[in-house]
């Protein structure tokens, strides 16, 4: 089984000419040479395994790093930011001594190969990032994108993904409070399964991934290590390098949410007793990542005995153990006198825990196997000194033609009947239809703190029972807008998420993102990426919401064809008292409906252009961040002072989509009129940004409109909450029953 002799550091030094399969492990020639240069000798197999996974695109961000720096460089001054980019997840101060951590990550490719497990382990991974910060996870969100709704493969992928997200999150006891479901043929072979999580802790409980204090013990706990996701490493394990055993080394991992639930509880109990000096979850690159990051972020070195790692498969080689991506594992650094207590807590929760090493006073990471030293590296070179690429990028030559293909010139409805038919067509289209068939598979209630969940504009969680302090989160992205203009598209994603948070009454504080793009080796894709990052960084600076962390997913493409550039943005907000939250649903008949913001002829990338004309071209709606900020301030003040009793932001589908949703949810209709200066079509379908529709009790009308007037926010009365139909005066009437059928039947018909 094992190669003889063991490829120790000593052996490597003595046998400089042994050829290692660096290319098979995904390293480039110059990268391998750099490893040799760093070490001053050829790497051992185990060292090569570590460098190759840690220097992969996924772990090192080598293509994206040069761009992502802008998030730090342009970061707005924010008193709320406690921990910024670089840690497992960012941490934000939300007041009263509470801190909140949140992050979004992708699990795109695994979810295509094995939808249930791919999506499930995506949730598992992001939740471990949250625990690793010291927080109790309190909610998850799941922005999703699939191929065409009527494509047969969507019927394989979507139900599996949704069941996997539900299966894992529900079993962990995390309410799912938001997300997105978007269908577009561009995601056919590359569905996007992004998952986000939020956690709450007290300021003093923030933990970081670092190994400090000579003599402190390194404890691996959670699931046993198996041969999961180690593809390339099996080459190192084989007798000769071409005698690989790939069939035994699965690329897809199976999650065990029950094990993760135990991991959460025992970790939190250990935090509570202040037993933990440093902590790291095991995600991509498994132990390679955890040991090298813990060691490089700490003050000393680390020594690890790999023989002590509990295995599920006794045939694993040391290289494979280092690379294994087995789920539901964590690594903690614990002072020697606290080890017994730590192990006792793990035992209480039936979690396997093993001391596998200790912090040393040197600055080396040394790993032993069968008595031989198989790794001896400076951990920084593994964790932080990976390659950085300045990939070439160029605005694609088709971009001008795409933008010139103006959606505002598409044929518009010419009669009231046609207008009415298009309303029905819009609200029943897969992207605009109700997603309740999906979201009802998620537990919204568990933990007993859910204030708002689907289909509200943002999810909201109470974090303090006594004061009512709460946090809100929304995730948004629009690949169609981003395709037309990636810079503006990223800003529109942020604008929408920001607006969604404010619409529910919460003040936006900070941002996480998940950047889903095609191959960075394509200069056009790289340009989209660079533009999107620049756009997001600029907009975050202007709105004062720092990016606290996120994730990049590249190579989402089939052959030469990339997905639409899809930056997904999550905005976290805070609300002093959740009793003041504003729901989407119309609450009472007779309330006046006001449209806030400016409505222009903006149909580029719109839902209307997609649904009615199957068209994508022109320019996306204009970005106006100062307007977004003003709108948010008004929505927050109005909620705090009780001036509105429902609100809904306007985004894809425009005003009519928002009104129909509020009406169906509240089971109350609306009578609308076309205000002066607008035509019915533009009123209903325009996707101008920076808008919301609010319901104002008559007693508050003056106070509310005065406030908008004084602050310079356009406010237009467009109707009243009334009856059991949605009527546009002089144009059409649609009963709630008709609308409900149109809006709610689509997704079950496609998927159930």
């Amino acid at each position: 089984m094992s190669r003889t002799p063991l490829d120790t550091v000593e052996h490597a030094a003595e046998t400089p000419d042994v050829e290692l399969p660096w290319a098979e492990l995904g390293l480039k020639k110059d990268e391998y040479e750099r490893v040799v240069e760093i070490l001053g000798r050829r790497p051992t197999g185990a060292e090569l395994a570590m460098y190759s996974v840690m220097w992969s695109e996924h772990c090192s961000y080598k293509s994206s790093k040069v761009h992502l720096r802008q998030f730090g460089e342009k970061a707005p001054q924010s008193d709320a930011l406690l921990v910024g980019i670089g840690e497992n997840a960012g941490v934000v101060d939300v007041g009263q001594g509470y801190a909140v951590t949140f992050k979004v990550e992708s699990h795109n490719h695994p979810s295509y190969v094995e939808p249930y497990q791919g999506a499930a382990t995506g949730v598992g991974g992001i939740v471990r990032d949250i625990i690793a910060m010291g927080a109790r996870p309190v909610a998850v969100v799941d922005p999703l994108r699939f191929g065409a709704a009527d494509h047969p493969d969507t019927k394989r992928v979507l139900p599996g993904v949704v069941a996997g997200i539900g299966g894992y999150g529900n079993c962990l006891g995390l309410p799912n409070i938001g997300g997105e479901v978007v269908f577009d043929a561009c995601y056919q072979g590359n569905p996007l399964v992004n998952a986000g999580a939020i956690g709450v802790m007290r300021h003093e409980d923030i933990h970081l991934a670092k190994a400090s204090g000579t003599g402190n013990k390194v404890i691996l706990y959670g699931a046993r290590t198996g041969g999961d996701g180690i593809g390339g490493a099996s080459i190192l394990a084989s007798e000769t390098f071409d005698d690989a055993k790939p069939s035994k080394r699965p690329a897809v991992q199976v999650g065990d949410p029950f094990q993760e639930k135990l991991l959460i509880e025992c970790t939190l109990e250990a935090f509570q007793e202040k037993l933990v000096v440093g902590i790291q979850d095991l995600g991509a690159a498994g132990l390679s990542c955890a040991t090298s990051e813990l060691a490089s972020n700490g003050s000393g070195g680390m020594r690890v005995t790999l023989d002590d790692v509990p295995l599920r498969d006794s045939t694993l080689s040391p290289e494979e153990i280092l690379m294994s991506e087995s789920q539901e594992r964590m690594c903690a650094v614990v002072e020697p006198e606290k080890v017994d207590r730590f192990l006792a807590i793990c035992d209480k929760w039936d979690v396997i825990a093993t001391v596998i090493g200790e912090v040393t006073d040197g600055d080396r990471l040394e790993i032993f196997w069968h008595g031989g030293k198989i790794v001896d590296v400076d951990p920084r070179t593994v964790a932080h000194d990976g390659p950085v690429y300045e990939r070439p990028y160029a605005r694609p030559d088709w971009q001008d033609a795409l933008q010139a293909d103006d959606a505002n010139k598409l044929a518009r409805p010419t009669s009231s009947d046609e207008l009415k038919a298009q309303v029905v067509q819009l609200v029943s289209s897969p992207n605009q239809a109700s997603k309740s068939w999906i979201t009802s598979q998620y537990d919204h209630f568990v933990q007993g703190n859910t204030v708002l969940a689907q289909p509200e504009d943002s999810g909201m969680i109470r974090i303090d029972e006594a004061s009512g302090l709460g946090v809100a989160i929304a995730t948004d992205g629009n690949g169609r807008y981003a395709k037309l203009d990636p810079y503006a598209g990223a800003q529109l994603a942020l604008s929408e998420a920001y607006r969604n948070v404010a619409t529910t009454g919460a003040k936006p504080l900070a941002v996480s993102d998940c950047l889903n793009f095609g191959s960075p080796e394509d200069p056009a894709v790289m340009w989209q990426f660079a533009e999107a990052v620049r756009g997001l960084a600029d907009a975050c600076q202007q709105l004062g919401t720092p990016v606290t962390g996120g994730n990049v997913s590249l190579y989402n493409q089939t052959g030469e064809v990339a997905i639409h550039p899809t930056p997904v943005v999550a905005v976290l907000g805070v609300i002093d008292d959740v009793a003041r939250r504003t729901p989407v649903a119309f609450q009472e008949e007779g309330q006046l409906l006001y449209l806030l913001g400016d409505t222009r002829e903006e149909f580029g990338g719109s839902a209307w252009s997609q649904v009615v004309h199957d068209h994508l071209g022109g320019l996306p709606p204009k970005v106006d961040l100062e307007r977004e900020r003003l709108l948010a301030e008004i929505l927050i003040s109005a909620s705090r002072d009780g001036m509105i009793d429902s609100a809904h932001d306007l985004s894809d589908g425009g005003l009519i989509q928002a009104v129909v949703e509020s009406a169906l949810l509240g089971e109350k209709g609306a009578r609308l009129v076309v205000p002066d200066g607008l035509d019915a079509f533009t009123l209903l379908f325009s996707e101008s940004a920076g808008r919301a529709v609010v319901a104002v009790p008559r007693s508050e009308e003056l106070r509310f409109t005065d406030m908008c007037g004084a602050r310079g926010l356009p406010v237009t009365r467009i109707g009243v909450v009334d009856g059991d139909s949605v009527e546009l005066q002089g144009e059409f009437t649609l009963t709630l029953a008709e609308l409900r059928e149109a809006h709610e039947a689509t997704i079950p018909a496609l998927l159930a």
């Binding site: 529900n170 949410p257 929760w349 568990v446 109470r462 939250r581």
Partner: protein
């Protein structure tokens, strides 16, 4: 004096804290019980909360049913101590044969989470006295294995003895036979149901209704007046 109501935490229990909160809001004293301890800490009643104990592996409730705490719960239940099983707790009670029948996967094969309308069929149990028979309430429902099944004879017997405590109204969310949402044992001290009353105890939270609070006030009154 107030009543002490135990809430068992099994590995994988999820709604144990929420249930403790509901008990507190009703004015009773929640007492945390641990699955590995036989000791019931002299509580006056026990709630087996919702969740996925042992991941619902094998069958929902099948593994928990053999935990040390259940030995005591089974013994006490048989001698009359009030026991409420919510969702996973209900599944544990059927697996432990404290309640007849069994819980199977929802007939539509999906997890389902919704605000569910129920009719209170029996307002005489230890846990439902603060309702009136025939009352219709809304309680959140969330489960994967909520389909109640039993043989015809058992079902007839349950009906005849008034031991169907809750029935789904307007919509059967899981294919439960005879729309059964909750049942009781012959003595009326052991009640199990799939929906989650502990998630309907505060006006702002969850479903935004408080239709679940009477569970906890019912038992409190019964114990305090006993």
């Amino acid at each position: 004096m107030t009543a002490r109501i135990g809430v068992v935490t099994f590995p994988g229990s999820l709604d144990d804290r929420d249930t403790q909160r509901a008990i507190r809001l009703a004015g009773a004293e929640p007492v945390a019980l641990w699955h590995k301890d036989k000791d019931l800490k002299q509580v006056d009643a026990v709630v087996l909360p919702g969740g996925f104990s042992y991941g619902d592996y094998l069958r929902a409730g099948a593994i928990s049913r053999f935990s040390p705490v259940m030995e005591s719960v089974i013994e006490q239940a048989k001698s009359g101590m009030p026991v409420l099983g919510i969702c996973n707790g209900f599944q544990i009670l059927t697996e432990a044969h404290l309640l007849p029948g069994a819980m199977l996967g929802n007939n539509h094969l999906h997890f389902i989470c919704r605000d569910q309308k129920l009719r209170v069929e029996n307002a005489d149990t230890a846990w439902t006295a603060d309702y009136t028979a025939g009352q219709e309430i809304h309680i959140p429902l969330k489960n994967m294995d909520g389909r109640y099944v039993a043989d015809e004879h058992t079902l007839d017997e349950l009906e005849a003895e008034g031991r169907v405590v809750f029935r789904y109204v307007d919509f059967n969310p899981n294919g439960s036979l005879r729309d059964i949402a909750g049942i009781t044992n012959a003595a009326g001290n052991v009640v199990g149901l799939m929906p989650h009353p502990e998630h309907a105890v505060e006006p702002l939270i969850g479903s935004g209704r408080t239709d679940g609070l009477p569970f906890f006030t019912s038992i409190l009154k019964k114990l305090v007046n006993a």
